[in-house]
Assembly symmetry: C2
Homo-oligomer: 280 residues x 2
């Protein structure tokens, strides 16, 4: 038993889709969420910058005495997960491995699509893991940078979003995909639109659900679950504008956000040992 | 005469439209440009965060011994211009006053539109200045957050961009505007699309051109022009990914960028006096 909170972070508001799934699986756990709203988005930024920001946030979560860290951001998972693991003794779970495992759970799945930010797709993280676990699979990967601003404009059911989707997914139309990995926490909000374009056969992999399952498994395996018969709490920290985060956060979480606080993670000094790798 | 460089900054790449106009008016001046590509965009961020970032950049430009600072970012001009002026003895020019003056240059202009980022429009900076200079004008203001990502995806002549424009500018269609202020440095790249929707009568105000003219006037008024018969140089500093900046920068500047360097402005300490106003 371990009643310390679980730390979860994202570049902004998208990671709340992971909080939503975690909460429904783990009603007794406390969560501390950090959204880097002053520096969002990460999707067009470089490896050293994403590592630096991710490390600052991990240090903050360690100070908040979390028992594990969930990197709920695809871009940070793709570019900084192993780096963070080397900087902390806490267990660290990202969203990529759960998504990949879910995509190849069906033993017949051979054609797999991956869509995400420019940084996630360019990192090759999903593609390399898929190839490692299923050498003969065929992968179609595509960066879709307009999906995040479209979701943040709440254009979830708009002809504009449908046209953008058609533009990005032209190559996917005749590919006869078995599964499509939604490799960005904003994309699950667009879920209803994909079958319209790609047909109902393609299985949509939502990393949020899969990640929550892995977190639950890890808590049991390490025997660090919260005591049962307990009602979990949530605290949200953001680097800019708690009010704006509360407003748009409701869209992702499906309910009102309480307890949102301002936290400037960049005040933390990163001069301690082991950060030479940052190379920035 | 003063052969020190002129400092110009923006949240990212958009301010290069100002550099382009400055270069064509002032062939003998040296320019030092800073683009905050690690923290771009500013348009959805809050007052204290935009002030903090702008101050860090101004300190960097002062260290580079510039003779004046041009805030080529509409969001930073709207939220941080007076603040920066109180922190430095250098002349500081923003993009808002030049744009407003150009919009009301025509003495008959009564109906004026303003489009920009969420932060710029919400700040009321353009609206308040327009009202001060022409009390009886009617103002239509609208935040258009998708325009920046559309330009950065290079969708300058796409039906998608036309649909987004129609969505944002519905209220402008029957307004019979005299002038439309493009209050974001990305928007001039969409110039050809506005007359299609709004008709050819509306005068489009591109702050980049107007700002360059004000800079030229100030250099003469203060007698700090560069010596004549001199060929000006340019240096570009960015907080992330010089390569990516060079690539997309060419689109804005209309020519290849040389000399692009990495500079992490946030390493600068802001603990010196007078920054209590930051309130963050």
């Amino acid at each position: 038993m371990d009643d310390r909170p679980i730390g979860v972070f994202d570049s902004g508001v998208g990671g709340l889709t992971v909080i939503k799934e975690l909460r429904s699986l783990l009603p007794g756990e406390d969560f501390i969420y950090f959204g880097d709203t002053a520096r969002v988005p990460y999707g067009n930024k470089s490896l050293p910058v994403i590592r630096r920001f991710s490390l600052e946030i991990s240090r903050f979560l360690e100070e908040m005495r979390v028992k594990m860290i969930v990197v709920a951001c695809n871009t940070a998972s793709a570019l900084a997960l192993d780096f963070i693991r080397r900087q902390t003794e806490l267990p660290v779970i990202g969203v990529i491995d759960p998504g990949v495992r879910a995509a190849i759970k069906d033993v017949h799945a051979r054609k797999i699509g991956v869509i995400g930010t420019v940084a996630t797709i360019r990192s090759d993280a999903y593609q390399a893991r898929l190839k490692r676990l299923r050498a003969d699979c065929e992968i179609l990967a595509k960066a879709c940078p307009l999906f995040v601003p479209l979701v943040e404009e709440n254009l979830l059911d708009s002809p504009i979003t449908r046209m953008v989707m058609e533009m990005y997914l032209t190559d996917f139309l005749r590919a006869d995909l078995d599964a499509l990995i939604l490799a960005c926490t904003h994309y699950p909000l667009l879920k209803p639109l994909f079958p319209e374009l790609l047909g109902g056969k393609v299985r949509l992999i939502d990393s949020a659900q899969e990640t929550a399952r892995e977190v639950a498994d890890l808590l049991i395996a390490r025997r660090i679950q919260a005591p049962i018969d307990r009602c979990g709490t949530e605290e949200f920290y953001v680097s800019d504008s708690p009010e704006a985060f509360s407003d748009i956060g409701g869209l992702f979480l499906g309910r009102k956000l309480e307890k949102v606080f301002l936290e400037h993670v960049w005040k933390r000094s990163l001069n301690s040992s082991g950060t030479g790798e940052l190379n920035v």
